[in-house]
């Protein structure tokens, strides 16, 4: 059997009385882009935050490359190659660009002293090479709070890429982006696949998901309601199914 990059088995998560996720089985293959679809509050973001180690599941098991991982935390997930572009972007807006790029894993020596020059150098390189930022307002020492929505999203994405991710998680990455910026983002997700990496893509826009994902997993009320290979299902059919799920809670 092919070994998955990531697999969740019977994962449940409850917050007090609220059952956010129930018996989720999910896998992500090598070189695969999986789209997660579901209504607001279906549990997509909770699922993502379990994969990134921010929440610990109430029950169930998580496997990375076929090996079971216990007590997954954010640093541990990052070490295993999970990088995330969060819906809320997870930026520190009063801080400079280079501090945001290296947020949570600053380059430093064994005593914890920062290598500021190198972080600024790398930020500058990333900006010109990957982000394509030409705006004069964007320099390693400029504050992220001044940036446009697209530029902020660019920072969150480049940050995820810089650290050699095997699995890139994108939670509503096109939210607040212009059409042009969205198109750029879709290109970027295609690039992830060409680079031999895997991605999980969450978006409200079914068109975007259908475009980039190899497989679509539909989540409803904390459960996996169904999944499709995008090559086997047309856009219209997928939309009909989504409406059906929203209304009846099941695909059939």
């Amino acid at each position: 059997m092919e070994e998955y990059r990531l697999e969740l088995k019977h994962v449940s998560k409850s917050f007090g009385e609220v059952q956010a996720l129930e018996d989720i089985n999910f896998h992500l293959g090598r070189n695969e882009v999986v789209g997660l679809l579901g209504d607001n509050g279906a549990g997509k973001s909770t699922l993502i935050k379990i994969i990134t180690g921010y929440y610990q599941p109430t029950s169930g098991e998580i496997f990375f490359n076929g090996r079971k991982v216990d007590n997954l935390s954010v640093p541990k997930a990052r070490e295993l190659g999970v990088e995330t572009v969060y819906q809320e972007r997870a930026l520190a807006e009063l801080q400079t660009l280079w501090r945001n790029i290296f947020l949570g894993r600053e380059l430093c020596n064994s005593l914890g002293f920062l290598d500021i020059q190198r972080m600024r150098d790398e930020t500058h390189r990333l900006m010109s090479e990957s982000m394509g930022f030409t705006s004069h307002a964007v320099s390693p020492d400029s504050r992220v709070g001044k940036y446009s929505g697209g530029e902020k999203q660019g920072v969150a994405i480049v940050r995820a890429l810089f650290f050699n991710a095997d699995i890139v998680v994108l939670d509503e990455p096109t939210m607040g982006l212009s059409l042009k910026e969205s198109a750029k983002l879709i290109n970027f997700v295609n690039g992830i696949k060409q680079a031999g990496k895997s991605a999980i893509f969450i978006d409200h826009n079914i068109l975007h998901v259908h475009n980039v994902a190899d497989r679509v997993v539909v989540i409803d009320r904390g459960r996996v309601a169904g999944e499709f290979q995008t090559k086997n299902i047309g856009l219209n059919e997928l939309m009909d199914k989504m409406v059906q799920v929203a209304e009846t809670g099941s695909l059939n």
Binding site: Y54, P75, A90, R105, F113, R118, D121, T123, R125, S139
Partner: protein, 346 residues
């Protein structure tokens, strides 16, 4: 986790250098330049209005003797405030440190060597400060209670413990004068330079390095800016905040030692009256109460403004009644200035 290995590509990255620009320098350092402006302006006003006092070295020697006792605590407090937290318990920690000092000195009487006893007493005071700071941080982080509320509580708690343990008694520390710790902590270099000023400079430099050149400081800024982002990106926000409160605890205990050694006497009310000048130094220096913004240099200058106003009011020829009015006036004006500069800098 070792980010160095996978973070950077093997090829040498081109160095990023920007030519110096005065405008950019002013913009990125506006808060520090602002408070420096206030500092210099006030100084010039003082010199013009009371040249005899402010052109003689004695007044500066007096400032350097008295200001460090609270200014030294304003440095770690700046770090706590940048992290978006608050600590009001440090005046009581000053006293509790000295309570531990006294107990240890008495309990180690069998050693019969004053220097060793005082050394152990100093260690005990600093450890006590660290433990109280840890407890503050632990309660704040583990129970999720706002630090303002927690430290109002612990401020009373440790003042109370101090009064219970000493039964309100004060006593002489005359014996410390036999040890080298006395000149080391509160002696003078040459005729005018007090050692407590030296220790303030040491703590200021250490605070600056920690905040600007170390991962700890980077995390402090991130936590104060957006604690949710910091957590999502894997920063251990609980541990970092507890460490910040421990810093305040240790330095407050050290300030208690300095202040008590200076007069070679212990009062259980030690620390009373330091609360507002220390807080005012932090906010005068441009640190934002909302967190994420602030500098050590600003606090350092703020402390000297606060410390100089009282003496200056009298030297200028106004009665002491004016002091608080002028304090308030300068604090309010400076805070407005910082808010304005911050909005423009964004």
């Amino acid at each position: 986790m070792n980010p160095q290995n996978n973070a950077t590509s093997p090829e040498v990255t081109q160095r990023y250098k920007v030519p110096f620009s005065l405008r950019r320098f002013v913009r990125t350092n506006s808060a520090q330049l602002g408070i420096l402006g206030v500092f210099v302006t006030l100084w010039i006003i003082f010199i013009i209005s009371a040249p005899k006092t402010f052109l003689a070295p004695q007044i500066y020697s007096a400032f350097m003797a008295s200001i460090p006792f609270f200014a030294i605590m304003a440095i770690p407090l700046t770090i706590v405030v940048i992290a978006g937290e608050m600590d009001l318990s440090f005046p009581s920690i000053m006293a509790m440190g000295m309570v531990a000092f006294n107990y240890t000195y008495v309990a180690t009487g069998f050693i019969n060597n004053v220097t060793i006893q005082v050394f152990l007493a100093i260690v005990a005071a600093l450890v006590t400060g660290a433990i109280i700071g840890w407890l503050n941080g632990f309660i704040i982080v583990k129970f999720g209670i706002p630090s303002l509320v927690v430290t109002i509580g612990t401020q009373f708690l440790w003042r109370g413990a101090d009064l219970v343990l000493t039964q309100g008694a004060n006593f002489s520390l005359e014996y410390i004068k036999q040890t080298f710790f006395y000149p080391l902590f509160v002696g003078t270099i040459g005729p005018y330079f007090p050692m407590q000023m030296f220790w303030l400079i040491v703590v200021t430099i250490m605070g600056w390095v920690l905040l600007n050149q170390h991962r700890f400081g980077a995390h402090i800024y991130l936590i104060g800016d957006n604690i949710n982002s910091a957590e999502l990106m894997g920063v251990n926000t609980g541990r970092t905040r507890i460490q910040a409160f421990m810093l305040v605890g240790v330095i407050a205990a050290f300030a208690g030692i300095l202040a008590s050694f200076y007069v070679a006497y212990f009062w259980p009310s030690l620390g009373d009256g330091f609360l507002l000048s220390t807080l005012a130094s932090v906010f005068l220096g441009g640190t934002s109460v909302f967190g994420g913004v602030g500098t050590i240099l600003g606090t350092f200058l703020g402390a000297f403004i606060i410390g100089a106003i009282e003496a200056a009011t009298v030297a200028i020829g106004l009665t002491g009644f004016w002091t608080q009015f002028i304090y308030g006036f300068i604090i309010v004006l400076s805070v407005i200035m910082h808010t304005y500069l911050r909005k423009r800098g964004e």
